[in-house]
């Protein structure tokens, strides 16, 4: 037992991201529960429609008279007048009100476990604020009554998931791309750099889809929940579908924009790609077009434009830079700013241990392009990019799963006793 360094205490690992919340048992290789972070809510008029809540996983917040709909059947199920809210923005929790309900849904409804019996490890981004982590600890101790708690950095955990103590973690998430230098399991905060690059990608992709392009009209992003039926049409032909007119009045703006974001995201995930060796019109044209069908039935082949989207990760066109002075930094710019802030002695170490992670990095050709970009400037680069999608998407969770099942880690837990004795200050002392 000691030889392998592992000692399972059946800890729970909770990784709250912008798009999904991952929860599972420490020691597992994939999270047991992956549920969306955003949630739907309806505002009740007086004490009316309580019966509606019946079958869905929801939690009633008595004071506000709103019903929350969380989990897989939360925002994705159409409900009249349902709004969708995002408690996490830029990887930081901005609204703690629904967090207990969402976490409780993950632990109790999906995993069917009682968090008061298990120590809980929670992740945080490297730029998390002190108030946020203290609030998180408070929720865990006060509302879930966990016996022990720890909050660990996603960058460090991603490095651990790759089996490295020192690494340069490139994490491309749904809302944020970050480059985090890790030395001996500690984040070098001065070298940390992050930007809202994926949001730019999303905006660009949405613009590409919805505006008319040469050869096709602008695409309507109509949720499938609002479509009664549709007919199969050939590629690039106008769609033939009928709307569910009864539902249309009940659609809120926030739900529609949530849906559009999801549809665009799906399109990016399945169609978009990155050219291996920098932008080149010819190379983009040579790569085969990809087929994609929207819920309306409209389907077409996407050629060069699918690489246009991915290209934004690595370079911004001069027109774009001229039109928008506050563009988020590209991945190479993030890397170079992270490296210049680091000591010259460890730059070589970091470059030899690059860990690519995050769902956004799963675009086809992303890792190849990254290594091409890096090798253009520095000689010895080694990129660790797990080929297994779940390892890439849930790298932070996986690292937490590894960390929380180590025998030597158990001395670091903040126990309830310590929480009661020292209060919030212990979080900063223990979780460095």
């Amino acid at each position: 037992m000691v030889n392998y360094g592992g000692d399972e205490v059946s800890a729970l690992v909770l990784d709250i991201g912008t798009s999904t919340i991952r929860a599972g048992y420490a020691g597992d290789d994939t999270p047991k529960a992956v549920i969306p972070t955003c949630y739907g809510y309806t505002e009740e008029q007086g004490d009316g429609d309580v019966s509606m809540e019946g079958s869905e996983e929801g939690a009633q917040l008595p004071k506000k008279k709103t019903t929350l709909y969380v989990g897989q059947n939360g925002p994705s199920v159409w409900r009249a007048g349902m709004h969708v809210a995002h408690p996490v923005q830029n990887s930081l929790i901005t609204d703690f009100a629904p967090i207990p309900a969402i976490v409780s849904h993950a632990f109790k409804e999906v995993m069917r476990t009682d968090p008061s019996e298990h120590p809980v490890l929670v992740t945080e981004p490297a730029w998390n604020t002190t108030e946020n982590r203290e609030r998180m600890a408070e929720i865990m101790f006060e509302e879930f009554d966990v016996p022990a708690f720890y909050i660990a950095n996603t960058g460090v955990l991603n490095a651990f998931a790759a089996g490295k103590g020192s690494a340069l973690v490139i994490d491309v998430g749904q809302s944020t791309a970050s480059v985090t230098p890790i030395v001996d399991g500690f984040v070098l905060r001065k070298g940390l750099s992050h930007s809202g690059l994926p949001q730019l990608i999303y905006a660009h992709a949405k613009h590409t889809l919805t505006t008319p392009q040469p050869g096709r009209p602008g695409i309507q992003l109509i949720p499938h929940q609002l479509i009664a039926n549709r007919q199969t049409v050939d590629a690039t032909f106008p769609p033939k579908f009928t709307l569910r007119e009864d539902r249309v009045p009940g659609v809120t703006d926030s739900w529609r924009s949530w849906y559009e974001a999801r549809e665009v995201d799906e399109w990016v995930q399945s169609v978009a790609g990155v050219l291996d060796q920098g932008w080149n019109d010819q190379a983009a044209a040579q790569r085969g077009p990809r087929h994609y069908e929207f819920p309306t039935g409209y389907n077409t082949y996407f050629g060069a434009e699918r690489f246009n989207v991915g290209e934004l990760y690595f370079s911004h066109t001069p027109q774009l830079v001229a039109s928008n002075p506050n563009l988020p930094k590209t991945i190479p710019a993030l890397i170079s700013s992270a490296l210049t802030a680091c000591d010259p002695d460890i730059r070589q170490v970091l470059l030899g241990n690059i860990v690519l992670t995050g769902g956004g990095s799963m675009l086809s050709g992303f890792a190849d392009r990254l290594s091409a970009e890096l090798q253009r400037n520095v000689s010895h680069v080694k990129i660790h990019a797990p080929g297994n999608p779940s390892e890439r998407r849930y790298g932070g969770w996986l690292g937490g799963s590894i960390l929380a099942s180590l025998g030597t880690f158990h001395q670091l837990w903040i126990s309830k006793e310590e929480w009661k004795e020292h209060g919030k200050a212990i979080i900063g002392q223990r979780c460095k």
């Binding site: 059946s10 070298g191 000591d343 001395q411 837990w413 310590e418 460095k432």
Partner: protein
């Protein structure tokens, strides 16, 4: 199957139980001979008991014993709570342990919780030894606390260092301060151990800030090279490699030529050594080889290197070139005398070989024994043969012996020359007398005959000639000795 079912049927129909075939079988079964070991069950049931002869041959095959992995019985595990001694609070977590292991023993991972020893100082010590105008005590305390927290990981310490109101500190500043304080504490405190460990600890705390800063600067400049600079460096490097290769090829060809033209006399040195001299790329070679390279270089280019023939060297290692007094320091002369080193002037062989690589190789002294001139060689050899000395081979070709042999050869040559002159003059005198006195024909023939006998061995004359030779030699050698 058939037996019981038949009995069941009988009991169902309440028939009297007839003695079936199965009933006597049951008591008979134990009587049956046991299945012999090593025979498969299927085979035994086929041939039955009728194969007693086989039993002898069917010894149990000797197979390797199956490893006992201890997996025989079930292992019981239990969910048990435990106390981690590395924790200061009473948190009890639970894990699975094998049933039967003693409960509440020491937690096996607690031993990994090691704390690095850190230095602390009192206010008194600080004011006495550690004051620094750049640092306040509070900031030093803060630094020491961080270093302790992060286990001397200075990268992390420098990253997290945020002393309110303090000046910005680089990693070198922090290291310098930390190590200097540690050094001072070790030096100025009473030391219980011995001096060796103290100096060892002191040296482990040594930190040269200027050097580190300089090194980092160099490193940074190395990293901040532009693409063109890198390309230029690379081009220069390949150019250098190309030049080296050309030089090597040129040398190889020249050596080949020398070898074919001059044979052993070409004195080709080790090709490898030569290359290094010509390569002119000292940065490519490690420091350890540079010293040996230097000596090699000297050996190749300077002609007056010691061609040593020490006392321990074989006797055959003799050079016949006469010792030429060289301009050398008294010290080296004394050294040479002490080690029996004789320095020889290397003859310039030909103009063709008068290049920097054409040096005098090591050779055996016996190779360089002087050969008598070819015209008189035969006669000289004869003379030496009379003395019982071989002109081509010396048993002991030491320097002295070689010199003596050379002198002897010289004397013999002179003797033979003189003898020739004498004979010639004799002949002329005789001819003149004959011309004066008698007819010429007979005298001519006589003279020729006499000349012949002188060249060819003639036992009658041998004694006298040898005598004369010896006497001439003794005279010459004594003269030579006087000269030297």
């Amino acid at each position: 199957m058939a037996g019981p079912s038949a009995a069941d049927v009988r009991s169902v129909f309440s028939l009297p139980s007839t003695p079936g075939p199965s009933q006597p079988k049951a008591p008979a079964a134990p009587e049956r001979a046991r299945k012999p070991e090593g025979m498969s069950r299927e085979l035994y049931s086929l041939i039955g008991q009728s194969a007693p002869t086989l039993v002898a041959q069917l010894a149990k095959p000797r197979l390797k014993q199956k490893p006992n992995l201890g997996g025989g019985g079930r292992v019981k595990w239990e969910w048990r709570s435990f106390q981690n001694q590395a924790r200061s609070d009473g948190l009890r977590l639970s894990h699975w342990v094998k049933a039967g292991t003693p409960s509440d023993g020491e937690y096996p991972f607690a031993k990994y919780n090691v704390q690095n020893p850190t230095y602390t100082y009192t206010q008194d010590e600080y004011t006495k030894f550690l004051t620094d105008k750049e640092w306040t005590k509070e900031e030093t305390d803060y630094l020491f606390d961080l270093v302790r927290q992060y286990d001397q990981r200075f990268y992390v310490v420098a990253d997290r260092y945020e002393y309110p109101g303090g000046p910005p500190r680089s990693m070198e500043d922090l290291k310098d301060r930390y190590f200097s304080v540690c050094r001072k504490l070790v030096r100025d405190r009473p030391w219980p151990g011995d001096e060796a460990t103290k100096s060892q600890i002191l040296s482990s705390f040594s930190f040269d800030k200027e050097r580190e800063v300089m090194r980092k600067k160099y490193l940074e400049s190395l990293e901040s090279r532009t693409q063109e600079e890198i390309a230029e460096e690379e081009a220069l490097f390949t150019e250098l490699k190309r030049l080296e290769q050309n030089e090597r090829r040129f040398k190889k060809e020249r050596d080949e030529l020398l070898r074919t033209v001059l044979g052993i006399e070409s004195g080709l040195p080790d090709v490898q050594a030569d290359e290094e001299v010509v390569s002119g790329a000292p940065q490519l070679e490690s420091i350890s080889t540079t010293t040996t390279k230097k000596t090699k270089k000297k050996g190749v280019t300077e002609p007056d290197t010691p061609m040593s023939a020490g006392p321990s060297a074989s006797n055959a290692t003799v050079s016949l070139a006469p010792p030429v007094p060289k301009k050398q320091s008294a010290k080296s002369a004394a050294y040479d005398a002490l080690h029996c080193i004789h320095r020889t002037e290397v003859p310039q062989l030909t103009t063709a070989t008068a290049t920097k690589a054409a040096h005098q190789p090591v050779y055996l002294r016996s190779y360089k024994l002087p050969a008598p001139k070819s015209a008189n060689a035969h006669k000289i050899a004869q003379v030496l043969g009379e003395l019982g000395v071989s002109s081509t081979r010396l048993v002991m070709p030491t320097k002295d012996n070689c010199q003596k042999l050379e002198a002897l050869l010289e004397a013999a040559t002179a003797l033979v020359e003189t003898k020739k002159q004498v004979d010639k003059i004799d002949q002329e005198i005789r001819l003149a007398q004959e011309r004066l006195g008698q007819g010429s024909a007979e005298g001519d023939a006589d003279g020729e005959a006499e000349d012949d006998t002188m060249d060819v061995d003639e036992p009658a004359e041998e004694g006298g000639r040898s005598q004369s030779v010896v006497s001439a030699r003794s005279v010459r050698s004594s003269r030579g000795r006087k000269q030297s």
